[in-house]
Symmetry: C2
Subunit: 470 residues, 2 copies
């Protein structure tokens, strides 16, 4: 049976109040996203005079629609919203409303704060749950529910879901994810706006129980009740990785956040410590968030912190080591004498094996076979919990052949392997091949390193939980 | 008159010893790069039996070539090199040699160290300067000299030149630069290998005097004589920005560097301090290096440290502020009362103006005209030294129209404007338009922020020099 947020993420029917046949307007894009995105439920565009929008019959108001409606999206402007809510209440069948319109409590103008309260009171009385106002709403790539006006997003199904406290950041993360070698689609996505009713805590709890969500990401500016948030997060992280891009790392960032969502960012060090304690993976940048999301949704969590760096290229390998070395969480892999000896046998004479510990520079002379054999050898080692494989394929190395070998070897072991192929478009096909087989690729060594650090941090936390018997 | 490194970067004729008609081999790619890259000088492939390579007559050895030769590229293997050098010496006209072959002093094997010494002695006696061994050589995009076997690189002419202590890092930076909205080609590029003769100091000094080079970048693992390096760097930075990606930020990175080039990375804090003192812009990642390179070669240096952030999107603006706030170098812009008032008039009512200081969230309702007018207003302010403009163009904002307006306004002021358009392929055309007009674009707000911090650091150093009367 449907409850709470199901009416948003699994809506059977959607009415868009403020739909329009004027392309380029949000009210047009929302209908277009639903129709072209392949949403299978009923779609009802509502506009006072338009007769047809995106090939669908258009209705003058909610009360003129004969079929049942589960969810409404309100794109008309501020002071028109109460009347729409009254009509919705009169119908009796509507369970959820996404209010995209801005101009409510976020303006801090008393009249508009009252307007938000009025709308919410009407919704509450009618048993309608509310997203927003001043929000973009939800996306579910499983059934193509999409209340946003974000255009051209990729809806490939992945097991990573996202919550954003900024519509633009949320939208740009989706777009950024679409630009990956294999476009990375989120599973569920939500932007909460003013949180007059549904807030980030409720969405977090919803994702926690969602069987399609394996890992959760969030862009966060601040919350009113940090204690409550940390309690929920603590529960969530027991079951799923929680990646949070929390701004406020600097005073200037905190101030900008405060003027945006009115949220008090609070002393960053307190957040940092609390996040760590409850097992949140805090990330610093949009790319770190996306990279970690790729790693978590495609690869297993390492069983320990011992990482092996296997590189075909000196400089990039060193850059990777430099980044790993800045983390307190990672240690370098321990290779057995036998493994080191075999590596020396199979690799070109220029190779630098296990110097420093856990670091193997295979040299530019290493071909596809040497890459695969070396990867096989280190993955089989007890002292290796995960591998970062770096290659800058020269002209004489077939990168798609390499990719196939790497997929084959990795599949034999339940250890994370992150690959960094650095040669622009030249290795695009190989990267597509790897990502299609659930092996995340990165274009820069420090990005692969950061993703691995996030995986190791997650294991650290899980081991801590286990020790504490929780 | 030609001297020293001119014989490499401006070679009139190139012989490739070890050329081959076997595609995929380095000795084939080098000839291909020269021919297809549009190099206008004479090209002489040398191979014992091949008659023709890439449509060019092939010669059995150097002595069989009737025309004059200025530069040779040696792609044959280690122990064959002395004989090639003897032939080169016998000819008398050869001025430079790029030895790509590896297997010399870098192996630390006495026999091979001696081999390198032998080759060098032969070259010295014949007055031939040597790049390498174990290097990729040089690229000059002005005349298409290219001794590398890096394929598919972009040779668009820019005023940024690069030195690399790692072939793979150097190659991947070029490829990475080629993937920018407008492929970013370096001016000159050099990979030094074992530095038996030409070293990074000499190239640095060469770039210092090169009129086509406006800014210099370097990937550095370590140098033998740090004091001498810092002296040269100190001289160079008086005239040109010097961006260095120096590994060794962590102990693990230092160790990996030591096993690669044998260079002692030294305590990182000492490097950090010394770099700052001599005015080197130290960067942490490949993307920071490229982003700063774009900023330095396209935009003016700010006259001060007061930066204005003008954003259409709350979250991304805050992420940018967060990053700027982590820098000691940047301060936020000071806007006059009149400017603030006018901004409030022209921007949508939801806009947040100058809260915090120097930060303007124009709101998602700001259209092309509002972006342009706001940019014009802040650029005209005395308290603004540079602007970061961020936009996540929604469907109803025409991003190419926006780009045209931004170019027009920016051209009126001699202040750096860095733009961050975040919407993936959706804004590709706009980014191409901006970069074609020498306005660098970035896909993530923290990258634009880091690039601006690098520009401000440069001005800080120049002002310090001026104060000291140097």
């Amino acid at each position: 049976m449907k409850t709470g947020l199901d009416y948003f993420f699994y809506a059977d029917s959607v009415a868009i109040v403020g739909a329009t046949d004027n392309p380029g307007k949000a009210g047009n894009q929302i209908v277009k996203n639903l129709v072209e995105g392949g949403y299978q439920g009923q779609i009802y565009p509502v506009h006072p005079t338009n007769k047809e929008i995106c090939g669908l019959t258009c209705y003058p108001d909610l009360l003129s629609i004969a079929g049942s409606i589960e969810l409404i999206v309100i794109v008309i402007s501020d002071f028109g919203v109460p009347e729409v809510m009254r009509q919705a209440a009169k119908r009796g069948d509507i369970k959820g409303a996404v209010i995209i319109a801005a101009g409510f409590s976020e303006t801090k103008i008393p009249e508009r704060i009252a307007l938000e309260e009025e709308v919410l009171a009407l919704a509450r009385e009618a048993g309608i749950r509310v997203f927003g106002p001043n929000c973009v709403g939800v996306i579910n790539t499983k059934n193509n529910v999409d209340t946003t006006f974000v255009s051209h997003i990729n809806k490939e199904f992945r097991e990573f879901s996202f919550i954003s406290q900024s519509g633009a950041t949320g939208a740009s993360i989706i777009k950024f994810a679409s630009d990956q070698p294999v476009p990375f689609g989120f599973n569920k996505w939500a932007h909460v706006g003013n949180m007059s009713d549904v807030d980030i805590l409720e969405i977090l709890a919803y994702y926690e129980k969602d069987p399609d969500t394996k890992a959760i990401g969030m862009y966060m500016e601040g919350v009113e009740n940090a204690t409550e948030f940390l309690q929920v997060a603590k529960r969530v992280t027991k079951n799923k990785p929680l990646l949070i891009l929390k701004v406020g790392r600097s005073e200037m960032g905190s101030q900008a956040a405060a003027s945006h969502t009115g949220s008090l960012a609070g002393a960053d060090r307190i957040y940092e410590g609390a996040f760590k304690q409850v097992g949140i993976n805090r990330v610093s940048t949009i790319d770190e968030l996306l990279d970690a999301a790729k790693a978590f949704s495609m690869q297993p969590i390492p069983k320990g912190k011992k990482i092996c760096v296997l590189t075909e290229a000196g400089g990039p390998g060193i850059i990777c080591m430099d980044e790993l070395g800045l983390s307190e969480n990672v240690e370098m892999a321990e290779l057995s004498e036998g493994c080191v000896k075999k590596l020396q046998e199979i690799l070109p004479p220029m190779a630098i094996v296990n110097r420093p510990q856990g670091y193997i520079d295979m040299s530019a002379a290493a071909l596809e076979k040497a890459h695969a054999e070396a990867l096989e050898l280190v993955l089989a080692e007890e002292g290796v919990d995960g591998v970062i494989l770096i290659s800058v394929p020269p002209t004489f190395l077939d990168s798609t052949k390499l990719a196939k070998e790497v997929v084959k070897v990795t599949a034999k072991h339940n250890k994370p392997v992150l690959t960094c192929l650095m040669a622009g478009d030249w290795v695009k096909d190989a990267r597509v091949l790897l990502e299609t087989k659930a092996m995340p690729t990165f274009d820069l060594p420090q990005r692969a390193a950061r993703a691995m650090i996030n995986l190791v941090k997650r294991n650290d936390f899980l081991q801590k939980l286990e020790k504490e018997g929780k």
